[in-house]
């Protein structure tokens, strides 16, 4: 069973706009950094942005896996 990787965009907690490379001053932000959303102008706690994206990605992957397992299960009884 092959699962396609999913990509989850990092989004502003305040306005939900996706962050672009321009928004992030550092190439690789670290824990505790603030990244400012160009659209909303508010600093976002980098750890929280990651956690929200992680939660969203996990939920999305859970849905994909459930669908895949259901398909595989059906195949067993064909």
């Amino acid at each position: 069973m092959e699962i396609e990787p999913i990509h989850v965009a990092l989004r502003c907690l305040f306005c939900d706009a996706a962050f672009t490379d321009k928004d992030v001053e550092k190439k690789e932000p670290e824990s505790g950094d603030l990244i400012t959303c160009a659209a909303f102008g508010q600093g976002n706690d980098y750890d929280s942005v990651l956690e929200v994206a992680n939660e969203k990605g996990t939920a999305e992957m859970k849905g994909i896996l459930e669908k895949k397992f259901a398909e595989e299960f059906k195949k067993l009884f064909k």
Binding site: Q42, G43, N44, D45, D47, S48, E51, V52
Partner: protein
């Protein structure tokens, strides 16, 4: 960010910190009890209707979510995004507090661009006036 929205989110995160609870175990209602609790902790007296409007906004932006289909403002939980909002605002306030004097001056100028233009205009006007009167 609206004050009432922040009041709700801040209150819930403060409650979590005081009781060592995670966000999934803290349920709350938007009612008179919450109005009183926020008043006791912040000293701000908000109207219940204002907090309900703020809760609507929080639900739309997924900062809080409903865990019950009964009453609209009953059995609510704060989301990861909602906790992130509080963390972001706290981190920003801390960063603002720890700025160096030069950075504070630079930010002040940045925030008051219009005022600076007016000030520069008057300085230039004064310069021209002095030049004519003095000359």
């Amino acid at each position: 960010m609206e004050e009432t929205v922040l009041a709700i989110l801040n209150h819930i995160v403060a409650f979590m910190e005081q009781n060592g609870s995670t966000r999934n175990t803290v349920f709350f209602d938007i009612d008179e009890k919450l109005v009183n609790e926020i008043y006791e902790s912040t000293g701000h007296q908000y109207a219940l209707e204002d907090l309900q409007k703020a809760a609507d906004k929080c639900i739309v932006h997924e900062w809080i979510s409903r865990k019950s289909i009964s009453e609209k403002y009953h059995y609510l939980v704060i989301s990861e995004k909602g906790v992130g909002i509080v963390r972001s605002i706290r981190a920003q306030e801390l960063a603002k507090k720890n700025r160096k004097p030069l950075k504070k001056l630079s930010d002040f100028i940045e925030e008051h661009k219009g005022l600076m233009v007016v000030l520069m205009f008057f300085v230039a006007l004064a310069g021209v006036f002095v030049k004519f009167v003095g000359g």
